[in-house]
Symmetry: C2
Amino acid sequence: MDASAEVDHLAAERSAARFDVEAMKVAWAGSRHAVEVGDRMARLVASDPVFRKDNRTMLSRKDLFKDTLRKAAHAWKRIVELRLTEEEAGMLRLYVDQPGYVDLHWGMFVPAIKGQGTEEQQKKWLPMAYKFQIIGCYAQTELGHGSNVQGLETTATFDPKTDEFVIHSPTLTSSKWWPGGLGKASTHAVVYARLITEGKDYGIHGFIVQLRSLEDHSPLPGITLGDIGGKFGSGAYNSMDNGVLRFDHVRIPRDQMLMRLSQVTREGKYVHSDVPKQLLYGTMVFVRQTIVADASKALSRAVCIAVRYSAIRKQFGSQDGGPETKVLDYKTQQSRLFPLLASAYAFRFVGDWLKWLYMDVTQKLEAKDYSTLQEAHACTAGLKAVTTSATADAIEECRKLCGGHGYLNSSGLPELFAVYVPACTYEGDNIVLLLQVARILMKTLSQLTSGKQPVGTMAYMGNVQYLMQCKCAVNTAEDWLNPVAIQEAFEARALRMAVNCAQNIGQAANQEEGFYERSPDLLEAAVAHIQLVIVTKFISKVRPNAVALVDAFNYTDHYLGSVLGRYDGNVYPALYEEAWKDPLNETVVPEGYHEYLRPLLKQQLKLSRL
Amino acid sequence: MDASAEVDHLAAERSAARFDVEAMKVAWAGSRHAVEVGDRMARLVASDPVFRKDNRTMLSRKDLFKDTLRKAAHAWKRIVELRLTEEEAGMLRLYVDQPGYVDLHWGMFVPAIKGQGTEEQQKKWLPMAYKFQIIGCYAQTELGHGSNVQGLETTATFDPKTDEFVIHSPTLTSSKWWPGGLGKASTHAVVYARLITEGKDYGIHGFIVQLRSLEDHSPLPGITLGDIGGKFGSGAYNSMDNGVLRFDHVRIPRDQMLMRLSQVTREGKYVHSDVPKQLLYGTMVFVRQTIVADASKALSRAVCIAVRYSAIRKQFGSQDGGPETKVLDYKTQQSRLFPLLASAYAFRFVGDWLKWLYMDVTQKLEAKDYSTLQEAHACTAGLKAVTTSATADAIEECRKLCGGHGYLNSSGLPELFAVYVPACTYEGDNIVLLLQVARILMKTLSQLTSGKQPVGTMAYMGNVQYLMQCKCAVNTAEDWLNPVAIQEAFEARALRMAVNCAQNIGQAANQEEGFYERSPDLLEAAVAHIQLVIVTKFISKVRPNAVALVDAFNYTDHYLGSVLGRYDGNVYPALYEEAWKDPLNETVVPEGYHEYLRPLLKQQLKLSRL
């Protein structure tokens, strides 16, 4: 994998693999073409000194941000110079592996205009965005308002005198807070605000607002902008300028309201278009499918590091001074590590299936068939919640499985954890999402009595009579190798938990009260349902081919960014070398010795009089 | 609590408390005296600008280290000037709240000499250490060797010609790695190495080795020293100079071997003293008791932040545009947060009990009574493992319970997590410790048949006949308020898990094989046993007085270091102000704009020719 690898310290493990790693790479990547493009882009990035990332955790916040600007500009330059396809450009950005304004520009700003803008608006704004003549972000959450979008306080009041909206932040808690790319980089934003016209509040709508001068990047009049400060980890998400934004009666032309679903007329009338609101769900399914795919990427990186290092690291096991046992051979290590390895593959496969679901939902929506929308919504919301939570926990578990050295930045794991955990919160807090799943489960159960048959991933609930009374047919450990037994066990578990919740809610004074009282149980029922979905998409077994299974992820050492997870397994010399790069090692005697250590040791601390 | 608090946004919660917070402060601190000393030292630190810590996460590694040196020197100055008692000095260092070489000097170097040095050695070295004429650390772990101390590779070979030991690092993996204070600050270390004399390897022993010149702090000849590089978090443990150390045939006088338990004579003979080796266990019990106490401190800080902020933060719950519901009132929040609050108190009480256990063990050891040693060892090892793992997970859970803002450094939680997690690894990896507990559980069970009655925290195992067949008497939720029912349920659970393991091991070809095969189950049995110990020491119930219960921890805003956990609850203005302190906000237009953003926006990126 890495050109510098001369001796392969993991060769013995690799030669013991009982499957074809090259074929598994294709299965992991999705196609031979995807393997080829990924390989090519990964090498392009790894071989370019501008994309160096091994020093990232040692940069100050300002230098880290500047480094991110530099990498983004350089990546764009390479994309244009090499005339990369959209697929290639996406892969290149993935391997640059540093959060930055570009992610929000392509991932949120452009899709928001595409999804919510009229054709005219798309024609005006998208070409500028595609060429980076403007940089955009997505300004939704506020200092006092996160998950509850309907509680946002920013206002957009239509002024018919001038044909403008007045964007305003009426309170401190209405300050926009968190949007990535907002703090320092973006020139524009899609801003979500309460639309007020003719004295009436029509709720939250999106508006394109220019924030900074295109001449000198200074904030426009009435706009206060800044970064919201340091975040978890040394580097991690600190390369991103998550921002704060306040408006003091900022005026924008009426046609900068995103008008695909509803409009305000020249006279100030609020009118709906004939585009169905449900279309927005399609976008949500798309974004969440991306997040599930990202979960499998993050988890697979952590597992790759932990498996490789566990095959190198030796500890105990020798009574007579002989070589110690490699920790990968300990049951306690295997019982914690192998389920995570299996999960990485499971999340990958369920993520692939979500791509199909997205296409299916889109086609149905275009045909105005909304019959599977709720089930698809529950499925994607739940999968987002379960896979991101499991991945965050799993990365930290992998770090612990690497022992003390996992705590060093050079292991790559602290940064991987710190950069990943926000996924549990953004695009829907996981608890909020799971409660939405639980609501749909309860509704589906209650509709069973009226004969409405559940569809898709909820179809098993129609089998309620059988699943409530069936007995597990498993008697021996081998019986668990039968996928039918596993699937039925997960189905019975999920259904029984849901039915139990429904019965308890039924005994409450009213449904809302019951839902409130039972919400912790409902969370568990929702998780059980989603785990069933994952297991269904991944009924197979991961055998002890651990090193080869992580090799199939096909990660370069540059992308993996971990001394412990090196392809060649030559961990200890690399750890040793890495240590000397710390800024503290620039001088043998540390700065501060003359001021603070020498006076102490020489008993010359000047004590002021009491 | 904080002088700057003008309006108390949490006053309503506080006035609803159904217990006396001042009395609880005494219970938490241990005595009225402890509350008073704690208050005084906390205020001394919080009011001294040198001890400022709100900018810590923004410092570069070098500046952070220098800041730590400065704080340590200043703390020492204040301790001497104010003629503080040992108790007061310890409290002051606690509230300075920044890991540094001082921790290892007082916590490991001095105790090692006290515990393993002869009276003569103590007389020579301790006065210098007490006055900081030398700074010491504890050099045990190596690049390739952590938990398995017997596997260390560093050698100390006696040379009878010169009456010296030759300390040497024969391999790369024998490099000392991780010792705190070693990298840049320490002048001396207690070094653990294989003692070799007369051609024979006598295993691991401690040696006092001078590392750096007392004149100019440069490493002595033959000694390579450095810092091992950045670690998890922005500030966190990066204030500590965890170090790397290699010896190239470094000579030290024979009398720098720590000789309390065994000596090497002038002729090179290895002899044991009459001091029983078991005395070392006393030190271990002491250190682990400290770690359990630290767990309750760290957990209580996290819980304090999460509870206060949950009482301020509002979300959803209003159907008609009225005020939203505070998240502390959600069942899903309560069911995750309140068990952590209860655990903070439980760990505190079990930690207090461990102080008693330490005294008890010490007295028995002095009377050469080793009957409770094994049980005490299992108990402290297990409590160390369970409380540190639970605390690390709980801090991260508290961070998630604070929503998106918990991800900001100004919440204090990312740093609290990053600085705490190493406790799961140092002083005994938690998995390794739990397997030791499991071994003692299995041994205790097997000795039951020969009539040997278990003692102390294992006494319940003597009740095996009853506990294996008893039925839970709980029928209603209220029945769980009976502490006897809770205790018995935990006893039956722990015992049944242990017996199950023992039976399965009995079926294996041999005991070691069985232990290996069943090690994941054994881990769980050990955890169940330790949870029983904790529950036994904390049979009581935490009622919904959440804000008052965290107030009883009596933490200043300085020590807590969290914008979200402020005593006065004035969260949002503080978050807003904090953001502007980020170095990125020093300029409105960021550094890098002219190089990397403007050329992009102006479409002037210079593309090299293809």
